[in-house]
């Protein structure tokens, strides 16, 4: 075991915090992310990480709690994206892009003012890349609170949300308030993204939001199973990544390991690639055997747009 788990892994308090925060973020991201993937809103989910970073850099400037900045930034941007309110995918991506561009512009101004006003040179890197090993003091309970709120929204809206995500027309015909459900979902997404990009950084936030749910949706067509699979996979990837990052300190002579975000993303990406290749082979075999239809349906690239 010594070669796999370097000594001191289970004794380190830093590792404990990383495992707990990482698992919480992975769980919330996976549950919200299944709907993000089904709705085709990966771009929105990613754009919100940058928007929350804008809020975070603004909060450094204003001297308020960064978490408040992250949440306000993400919720404002989510509201703006919904307000522009273009329903079809291409136009929605454009609206997302405009909001993203404007918020990045603001972030560059805030960061510039931060660095000139307070001479905190690490601010850029801290905001952009975050660190699971060094959460700000007092973050854990707040992260848990917002995570629970986000999960509560998703679970309360589970059925109408699933219906609107799969077919907006069908949901509307059944009398589901499509826009209201969409707005509530964006709120849940914004909360989940804000807390995960604060706790674990922008890169990991997107990776955990999209990677495990997309992998799980490759393996199963049932939403309930995909939720459980995505959550399990997300937590597993996070923990393996933390372990590898801890070990990696021993791989280099200078004792500085590679960042944990690198390992977690690498594991997530690998899992997605494997599931992509295996399902591709499976669908090809089943179509060769003459069984076409539902399984192949959403792999049509035009349908995915």
């Amino acid at each position: 075991m010594g070669w796999l788990i370097e000594p001191g892994f289970f004794a380190s308090a830093q590792v404990h915090t990383a495992l707990v925060i990482g698992a919480a973020a992975a769980l919330v991201s996976a549950v919200v992310g299944v709907f993000t993937v089904i709705r085709g809103q990966s771009f929105g989910g990613h754009a919100l990480t940058d928007a929350s970073a804008t809020g975070g850099s603004g909060s450094l400037l204003a001297g308020v709690n960064p978490l408040l900045g992250f949440v306000v930034g993400a919720v404002t941007a989510a509201g703006a994206m919904e307000a522009i309110g273009v329903r079809h995918a291409r136009g929605r991506d454009l609206a997302t892009g405009i909001v993203l561009g404007a918020s990045i512009g603001l972030a560059s101004l805030f960061l510039y003012l931060d660095t000139t006003a307070t001479a905190t040179t690490g601010a850029t890197q801290q905001i952009l890349f975050g660190s699971i090993f060094a959460p700000a003091p007092g973050t854990v309970p707040i992260v848990a609170g917002f995570g629970a709120a986000s999960l509560a929204i998703i679970l309360a809206l589970y059925r109408p949300l699933l219906l609107t995500s799969i077919s907006g027309d069908l949901a509307a015909a059944r009398g589901v308030p499509v826009r209201l459900v969409g707005l509530a979902y964006m709120l849940a997404l914004a909360l989940a993204v804000a807390l995960s990009s604060l706790a674990i950084g922008a890169i990991l936030s997107t990776a955990l939001l999209i990677g495990p749910p997309a992998t799980a949706l490759h393996a199963t067509r049932r939403a309930g199973r995909a939720l459980i699979g995505a959550a399990g996979l997300g937590i597993a990837c996070t923990w393996i990544g933390v372990l590898l990052a801890y070990d990696s300190a021993h791989w280099f002579s200078d004792g500085n390991g590679l960042p944990v975000s690198f390992f977690i993303v690498a594991v997530i990406f690998l899992a997605y690639l494997i599931s992509d290749l295996t399902t591709h082979r499976a669908t090809r075999r089943s179509t060769a055997a003459g069984r076409t239809g539902a399984l192949v349906g959403d792999r049509d690239p035009r349908a995915a747009r």
Partner: protein, 291 residues
């Protein structure tokens, strides 16, 4: 200072032309992901000790190929998101191996147009010319497969090949522009002015010309304002681009409100913002439902 104007003009022309197709094809996410992936390449190039332009180019093309091949089966947006985070994670790993890099990160992300040297002009001009040439060669099939993919397929245009070719053009455009306006803001320039131009005119040729003109105005105004206030140029590019998009949409909404019958529905497809005649399904969805 003179170099800044020259290089910014070249960047605006490229962004205006390539951005038109980005908006037309709905490739906003790849247009955001490729520059970010390229940024990781620059970090890697510093680590290995080669020119950062080489790192930018290699990683931009790698991102484009990754997005194209992963997106061929499976969802485009998922493929783009995963390629993006994979590249960024590599960037984070590279950065952790180098020291004293923080100011350079800032300039690569947000641009350093005022510090462009004369030796940097030539590669930018070369890559820019290559981009324009590629767009000129691909013009007809690219336009057709963007607007009417089914008809393009029927005419023998391979839309998957066009997609890869377009992503590579996007990658080239990125590699030349990232050192100048930054990984994060070339994206604004590729979205805002072209989207505004598309809202203003339905004809592709006119829209491209207008898109270039708006991009030029955006960049020139941003440089002048940045010089005056000493604030980062990216802030002005982002804000003016968003403003241009808002004005374009406002103008479009006002015009369709006046003319109930749109005079030119030939070119506008369902994706144009505030398009006068969306297909029935979308029109139905847009209607407000009692809540």
């Amino acid at each position: 200072m003179q170099n800044a104007w020259i290089v910014a003009t070249m960047v605006a022309v490229i962004a205006g032309v390539v951005g038109f197709f980005v908006v037309l094809r709905g490739s906003a996410f790849p247009a955001h992901a490729i520059p970010n992936g390229a940024f990781a390449g620059a970090a890697g190039a510093v680590l290995v000790g080669v020119s950062s332009l080489l790192g930018l180019g290699v990683f931009a093309v790698l991102s484009a190929l990754g997005i194209g091949s992963l997106g061929r089966r499976g969802r485009h947006d998922v493929a783009t998101a995963l390629a993006l985070v994979a590249m960024l994670a590599c960037g984070a790993a590279f950065l952790s191996r180098t020291t004293e890099y923080a100011p350079e990160i800032f300039s690569l992300l947000f641009g350093e147009v005022l510090g462009v040297s004369t030796t940097e002009l030539l590669p930018v001009a070369g890559l820019g010319a290559a981009c324009l040439l590629a767009v000129a060669v691909l013009y007809r099939p690219l336009l057709l497969s963007s607007v009417m993919p089914e008809i393009a397929e029927a005419k023998g245009v391979r839309s998957d090949r066009i997609e890869i070719a377009f992503l590579i053009v996007l990658a080239l455009a990125t590699a030349m522009t990232v050192p100048v306006v930054g990984a994060l803001l070339i994206f604004s320039l590729m979205i805002g002015p072209p989207a505004a131009a598309r809202a203003l005119t339905p004809r592709p040729g006119a829209a491209i010309a207008l898109s270039v003109a708006l991009a030029l105005i955006t960049v020139w105004a941003a440089i002048a304002l940045s010089y005056q206030t000493n604030w980062p140029i990216g802030f002005f590019v982002g804000t003016i681009s968003a403003l241009a998009y808002g004005l374009g949409r406002g103008w479009n909404a006002a015009r369709t409100h006046h003319h109930q019958l749109p005079h030119s529905a030939t070119f506008t497809d369902a994706s144009s913002p505030g398009s006068p005649a969306p297909p029935l399904g979308q029109r139905r969805q847009k209607r407000r439902r009692p809540i």
